[in-house]
């Protein structure tokens, strides 16, 4: 397997250094043929790197701070590397994420590895993949089961021509693309299909291959509690009642807080010690939530709505912490 030596343009004028690097590589990877490119030429696509063809890529960049590698270059180099191949040398230190996004594993700073696909690839290949891939190439064939529509009278491709032998795929592809692109010209005079014509086929669409969500139920068997926009089944009333209830509970809680605060204030005055209203764990536990079966015991009430239980009397109130000053003023504020 060969080695690719990538050079930053600032170093190539210094022949001795380059020779030094090359001999170092040869001693490190004996017998491996070394290909050498200036990185700019890779970036500008002046050179084509065959995929999966290098076991090692080494980058030499004498510049302090290692200038950033364009994402495009990273992805090209990834493709050029063979599986389990590595990319080392003067790699930028702040582009680990770009490396990751392009499939590399960052073993250590400056040491990126292309993983072996069997272990890491997402194994979701459908059986039909092979077929899919050939279909992607320009086959110049009429799609088989096409509906005959008035709207699209022509095809770009010609089935009679036997053109698979000599022409290489790339140029065929380019030519097909070009012919396709000719239809995108800014020709506003073009005749348009009436939108309603499309609807003639709509009924066919409905019957096949359409996703419907699992019914109203959540995985845990709980029904979704959201009432429809124009609910007539009574769920909306239940929701409204729940909301009214939660407001009542809030009032109770706030009333109790004020009460507690007053009590404590008296205590404070007595002791002439503390200067603010504070809740201790004990205080919180003592609050009677007035709702059967509800206690403050779950410990989540103080944390804010995101953590509160369904039906928690504190729902809708800001988070607070035992021992922290509770800012009652902020409750009613309008943003």
């Amino acid at each position: 397997m060969s080695v690719l030596l990538l050079l930053h343009p600032t170093i190539v004028t210094d022949e001795d250094t380059v020779l030094g690097i090359k001999s170092k590589i040869t001693s490190q990877y004996p017998q491996a043929p070394v290909t050498q490119h200036i990185i700019d030429r890779v970036a500008r696509e002046n050179v084509e790197l065959a995929p999966n063809s290098f076991a090692h890529i080494v980058y030499v960049n004498p510049n302090e701070g290692h200038l950033a590698l364009p994402v495009l270059v990273i992805s090209k180099l990834f493709n050029a590397l063979a599986e389990d191949g590595d990319f080392t040398g003067d790699l930028p230190r702040n582009q680990d994420l770009d490396a990751l996004m392009n499939g590399f594993i960052v073993k250590a700073p400056g040491h990126w590895v292309k993983p072996v696909s069997q272990k890491t690839l997402v194994l979701l290949r459908p059986k039909s993949l092979k077929e899919g891939r050939t279909a992607k190439l320009p086959l110049f064939k009429k799609a088989a089961a096409e509906k005959d529509t008035v709207s699209s009278p022509v095809t770009l491709t010609d089935t009679s021509a036997n053109n698979t032998d000599q022409e290489d795929e790339a140029s065929m592809k380019r030519r097909l693309e070009e012919s396709k692109l000719s239809y995108f010209s800014d020709d506003s005079d073009d005749e348009l299909i009436a939108e309603d014509e499309l609807l003639a086929d709509v009924n066919d669409l409905d019957k096949i291959n359409i996703i419907v969500p699992k019914k109203c139920e959540l995985p845990d068997g709980k029904k979704r509690r959201k009432a429809c926009k124009d609910c007539t089944c009574g769920l909306k009333e239940i929701e409204e009642a729940a909301e009214a209830n939660s407001r009542n509970l809030q009032e109770t809680i706030l009333g109790q807080m004020v009460q507690l605060a007053t009590l404590e204030a008296i205590e404070i005055e007595d002791r002439l010690k503390k200067s603010a209203v504070k809740f201790t764990e004990d205080d919180l536990a003592e609050i009677d939530f007035t709702v059967e079966g509800k206690t403050g015991g779950c410990g989540s009430c103080a944390l804010g709505d995101a953590f509160r239980c369904d039906g928690c009397p504190y729902l809708g109130l800001p988070p607070f912490r035992p021992g922290e000053v509770v800012n009652l003023d902020s409750f009613g504020e309008d943003i």
Binding site: L97, D98, L121, E191, L199, I210, P213, Q250
Partner: protein, 589 residues
């Protein structure tokens, strides 16, 4: 090599969005795919150069909502025009695999028609289906979320299966921001300008508020505003068209948010540069005034309800070195999962919690890097209002119900735009635009057909425009709904002289008044069934229904079917035909 991937940027996600829902879903999907090391392009349909469908796209995902009459949303008219060209060959896109997701509302008869049309056309052009398509229904108990979850569950494996070598990135890894934002902390503060909305795109109209007054009684539960705007440039609109407004946040909310993130406050007035293209209708405020504070004020919707994509990014910014932090991070992460839709709904949507409040609740361990702010907080969307005035080159009117309500959160919920509108003083300058609709009232016909108008509440706005324009030119019959004559009978004084001249007939339905014979517009329609039948069947009247969505339009429809039964052979089909012929127009929200 047979084992190489198609390019990771060959995935294209396009959306057609009216209210921003489709856009959020598109970005959610885009981010999800980035964690599979794909680099999908996410774009609105119209911003996307269709040529790229040939040069770049191999996998196409389209999400699109449907507006009132089964029309395409505004942001894809251009794209559709290309797609509908007759001479396109039927293998034009045979290199593309695709799927579609429709956002619809089954209370409209033309449910999800936009996406049906797109899907059909893409099939005609040679696209093949990548995974099953989906038409979501806002009216269903599962909500659009429920449909989306199912669709994504099928789509992701189908798509990633096309790429033999994909590397999944753990979703706890923070990806680089999609929008590039640079603050220059060492520069001098940018001088605070006046109303910077005026520095937005030159394509917007500029003008000022002429009048802004309440047209419901002071003791009525709802504040409805009649707002008159004077324009500096010539306006061209007709009944059924909409006015687009560009509301900013109020300064207090902005200040509050900055204080919640003190490191933001420190650089709030420094020059800020956004080097990525930000797609926002009406453009950004001018670069010379761009600061973090102004970016937030004019463009970031801090009083919107946080969505899943918001939590999917927010949790990364929680410092989890403490137990509290760890717990908070986990919770925010959970909210970003599709499986936790219910919890997210209960936490955010149900109480109408704001992004600002969410940040407030988690502020202790939360530090959001400035670079991520546009990725995190959605852009303020343009607000649309049906125009309430007859065509005029230099002024335009709207009638707007101010949104104010309570939930279990103790702060009163207010709509961002209506809160702004409510305090607008006469003389205040503003920017706006006019969006033309496809609605036509048969103006090109030799004899203009009568119009049967059905309008409860503020649905009256476009009726006023039509009545003012057409009174005397054709027969006009209005069925208006309100609660109490003394409180919210909108524009009564405008109708009175016209009724005296017999150029307008008015039939009311009064829902909250003792002794009122007809509560709802559909009741009144049925009571006047002979008139209604003769208008529709004999005089070929155009029916125009406007008001809140849900029950009203559906019951109006059922009532009309009943009224027509006996006079036409198939009343349901008759209404459908009316609709297809543009004779049954519904604008509901």
């Amino acid at each position: 090599m047979s084992d190489t991937n198609p390019p990771p940027n060959s995935v294209t996600i396009l959306y057609g969005s009216e209210t921003g829902n489709a856009q959020d879903f598109a970005h959610y999907l885009g981010r999800k795919l980035r964690y599979y090391s794909l680099r999908p392009t996410v774009s609105s349909l119209d911003e996307y150069d269709p040529r790229k469908l040939v040069t770049e796209t191999r996998y196409l995902i389209v999400l699109c909502s449907t507006t009132g009459q089964g029309e395409f949303p505004r942001n894809l008219q251009k794209f559709i025009k290309f797609l509908l060209r007759k001479r396109l060959p039927k293998d034009l896109l045979n290199h593309v695999k695709f799927t579609t997701f429709g956002l619809g509302d089954s209370s409209y008869p033309k449910f999800n028609f936009a996406i049906k049309k797109i899907h059909t056309r893409l099939l005609q052009l040679g696209c093949t289906e990548l995974s099953a398509r989906c038409e979501s229904d806002e009216m269903s108990p599962e909500g659009i979320d429920g449909y989306f979850a199912e669709w994504v569950e099928k789509l992701v494996p189908a798509l990633t299966g096309q790429f033999p070598r994909l590397f999944q990135i753990d979703d706890h890894t923070l990806l680089p921001p999609e929008y590039k934002i640079d603050v220059s902390p060492d520069s001098a503060d940018v001088a605070s300008g006046e109303d910077l909305a005026l520095t937005r795109s030159l394509n917007l109209h500029r003008g000022r508020v002429l009048e802004n007054h309440r047209i419901t009684a002071a003791d009525h539960f709802q504040d409805v505003r009649h707002i008159v705007i004077e324009s500096d440039s010539v306006l061209l609109y007709s009944p059924g068209d909409t006015l687009a407004l560009y509301p900013p946040n109020d300064d207090r909310s902005v200040e509050l948010l900055l204080q919640l993130q003190p490191h933001w406050l420190a650089v709030a007035d420094k020059p800020l540069k956004i080097s990525s293209d930000v797609e926002v209708e009406g453009g950004l405020i001018s670069q010379e005034h761009m600061t973090l504070r102004n970016l937030i004020k004019y463009h970031l919707d801090v009083s919107s309800i946080p969505r899943r994509t918001f939590f999917g990014l927010l949790f990364h910014f929680v410092d989890d070195s403490t137990d509290d932090g760890k717990r908070e991070k986990e919770k925010l992460y959970d909210f970003s999962k599709l499986e936790e839709s219910e919890d997210l709904y209960d936490y955010a949507n149900r109480p109408r919690r704001l992004i600002l409040e969410t940040i407030m609740e988690f502020e202790t361990n939360l530090k959001i890097p400035v670079e991520y702010i546009v990725d995190l907080i959605p852009l303020i969307k343009v607000r649309l209002f049906l125009i309430a005035s007859k065509p005029s080159p230099n002024s335009v009117e709207i009638a707007v119900a101010i949104v104010e309500y309570k939930t279990m959160l103790r702060r009163i919920r207010r709509g961002l735009c209506t809160k702004w509108l409510k305090q607008l003083q006469p003389g205040t300058p503003l920017v706006f635009s006019v969006h033309l609709s496809n609605i036509s009232f048969g103006d090109d016909l030799l004899e203009k057909p009568p119009v049967l108008m059905i309008a409860p509440g503020t649905g009256i706005a476009p009726m006023k425009s039509l009545i003012e324009k057409e009174a005397g030119n054709r027969s006009l019959v209005l069925f208006q709904g309100f609660r109490e004559t003394q409180k919210d009978y909108l524009f009564q004084s405008v109708w009175e002289p016209l009724v005296q001249l017999s150029t307008l007939q008015v039939y009311n339905a009064v829902s909250r008044e003792a002794g009122a014979k007809h509560k709802y517009v559909q009741d009144r329609l049925f009571a006047e069934k002979d008139l209604v039948r003769s208008l529709i069947v004999d005089e070929k009247a155009i029916v125009f229904v406007c008001g809140s969505s849900g029950n009203m339009p559906r019951q109006v429809r059922i009532t009309l079917v009943e009224i027509l039964r006996g006079s036409v052979t198939d009343p349901e089909q008759y209404l459908l035909d009316m609709e297809n012929g543009g004779r049954y127009i519904q604008e509901t929200w």
